[in-house]
Amino acid sequence: MPVRDYLRERFFPHMWCPGCGHGIVLNALLRAVESLGLDKSDIVMVSGIGCSARISGYVDFHTMHTLHGRALAFATGVKMSRPELSVIVPMGDGDALAIGGNHFLHAARRNIDMTAIIMNNRIYGMTGGQFSPLTGYGCFGTTAPFGNVDHDFDVVELATAAGASFVARSTAYHVHELFRIIKKAIAHKGFSVVEAMSQCPTNFGRRNKAGSAVDMLETYKDRTVALNSKEAGEAPEKLRRGIFVQTERPEYASAYEKMIQAASKGN
């Protein structure tokens, strides 16, 4: 099936700014779905609020555009009531880790089978450029006009510690790698976290002298390195990309079905 058949074309053009990385993430996501041969009616996409969350309007799946930060909680209800469905949850960095931080930790802890894609542009874009939990110390936002004194999370370490059984990171520059990672994340049985670094030239780039969208993409190329690559050994200061965690442990919905079988016997 051509990738465009997964889109609701009548709702284009999309609302993302020129140069935004979110369209690239959407592209990688749809190619991953297409490559896995998933039926559109077997996929539910649940999103929260923000630029990232608008992705759910453009895809021809069952789509639920919910509340800021709460996408994983809604998705948990969908998955547990119909475990056969594939559930994909795109989130922004503020969406997933500030207002939705608790839901994120607990979804990871339960190891519920869904794919959380954190479209990390390091800023609250839709509201005009306020700093997020991933903006980083010393960076600038409309609410950090003198430089941010909030430290940032490392999404990979956070997700790993919380119990996610698949944890990966890639960027909008490394679109083929991102596609392969998202494909593995969707296929993985358990809670999968993909940090997709995605440039926001409008609201992060402008205030942080990060240059144009192209400059920001090139920064992803220059300042990141594939995990376990030769270059990684030579450049410890660069941010790692790749699959950090891929383990098997009891998945929540499956474990629940087993519990139902045990409980029904005692009935």
Partner: protein, 385 residues
């Protein structure tokens, strides 16, 4: 004729509510522990898996309501249960369920507030929160009851209203009715009607409009995961479920959301009445307070004092017409409740002469007693303290 019963129990009101939810067809519950509602979650944790249903203990009340909304969208009957602080946390998702028209039932076993307040004591302080707690213009359905059989029936009806009007319905219990033990006869199957999900008859391949009401105002649903793929959003949306800022569509949707409840208020009005026919003094009450009122009314009747009781079970949409009608002959109207007059305000709006409406209340965490009410009526009637 005595009803045919499945079995008889001596249980708490919370359990009556939980049993009623199963009777209504509930098979998905998510919740978070909170006094005085936790018995409902504990019941569900044991009973639902035994029949293939799901009970989830979520990370908080926010996630609990979100999770059941998600499960409702795949076609399940769903409920959560909480108390004041948790109900406060649920207000955001309550608005989402209203806006997206996803059926669900939210039980609030009221305790003393504000804030953490009195976790183990009774209150009826959340009547207005149930109505106005979530932001924006909206309508809501909220039911209450004072006996276990009535808790059972109004809980089943809460599920029925949720499905019929595609709306969240709030069941307002209180610490006393929730923890009070008395006889509960579980009605036989079919004794209380059950309303199932209205699903679309639109076939695969034909355009399904999830938010295009039929002529009767109802919107047939399609389960997430079935053949129709559509969008659901908390933004103002068109008939496809896609965000819009078109003023005509915004206006139409907000009227639809409020009219579908308010124009059907008569259909949802539930009440009980005792000795109203010849009563110059009408007491209006609900929930645990109504038990004390009924005790007093029957006691005073034996002494020749003509008191009557109008016990409200539907609090929202408020039955103004019913109250006006039942109070037509009354010389004085006394609203008995455990708050500062939340239902009192509505009664004053309903009756022809608001000067005749008085409040008999208790707000110290203790159940209002028949003696309390008797003394207050004495004062109201100018007979001294």
């Amino acid at each position: 004729m005595r009803s045919q019963t499945q079995f008889v129990q001596f249980v708490q009101g919370n359990i009556a509510c939980a049993e009623a939810a199963l009777y209504a067809g509930l098979d998905f519950f998510a919740g978070y522990p909170i006094t005085p509602s936790s018995e409902i979650a504990e019941f569900m944790a044991r009973r639902l898996p035994q029949s293939g249903g799901k009970f989830l203990q979520m990370e908080d009340e926010i996630a609990s309501l979100c999770a059941i909304i998600g499960a409702s969208l795949t076609g399940h009957k769903v409920m959560t249960a909480t108390s004041g602080p948790g109900f406060s946390l649920m207000q955001e998702a309550l608005g989402y369920a209203i806006m997206t028209e996803i059926p669900c039932v939210v039980v609030n076993v009221q305790r003393g507030g504000p804030s953490t307040g009195l976790p183990t004591h009774v209150s009826q302080g959340d009547i207005n929160q149930a109505r106005y707690g979530t932001h924006g213009e909206h309508a809501i359905v909220a039911l209450t009851a004072s006996t276990l059989p009535d808790i059972f029936r109004i809980t089943v009806e809460a599920f029925n209203f949720a499905e019929t009007y595609r709306t969240p319905v709030i069941v307002l219990l209180d610490e006393v009715t929730g923890h009070m033990r008395e006889r509960l006869d579980i009605p036989a199957d079919g004794e209380i009607p059950r309303v199932g999900r209205l699903r679309t008859s639109v076939q695969q391949g034909v355009d399904y409009h999830p938010y295009l009401p039929r002529e009767d105002g109802r919107l047939p649903m399609s389960d997430f995961g079935d053949v129709h793929r559509y969008n659901v959003t908390g933004l103002f949306h068109d008939m496809w479920g896609f965000p819009t800022e078109n003023p005509k569509i915004v206006y139409g949707l907000i009227r639809h959301l409020t009219d579908k409840i308010n124009n059907n208020a008569d259909q949802m009005t539930r009440w009980k009445e005792y000795y109203l026919a010849d009563a110059p003094t009408v007491l209006i009450s609900y929930g645990a307070a109504a038990r004390s009122v009924l005790h007093l009314v029957e006691n005073r009747r034996r002494r020749g004092e003509k008191l009557g009781l109008l016990e409200l079970q539907t609090l929202w949409p408020f039955p103004h017409d019913l109250v006006r009608e039942k109070c037509r002959q009354a010389q004085s109207i006394v609203v008995v409740e455990m708050n500062m007059g939340q239902v009192l305000q509505q009664v004053k709006l309903a009756v022809h002469d608001p000067e005749k409406v008085f409040l008999a209340n208790r707000i110290d965490g203790e159940l209002i007693t028949p003696t309390d009410i008797h003394n207050l009526i004495h004062v109201i009637h100018g007979k001294g303290v």
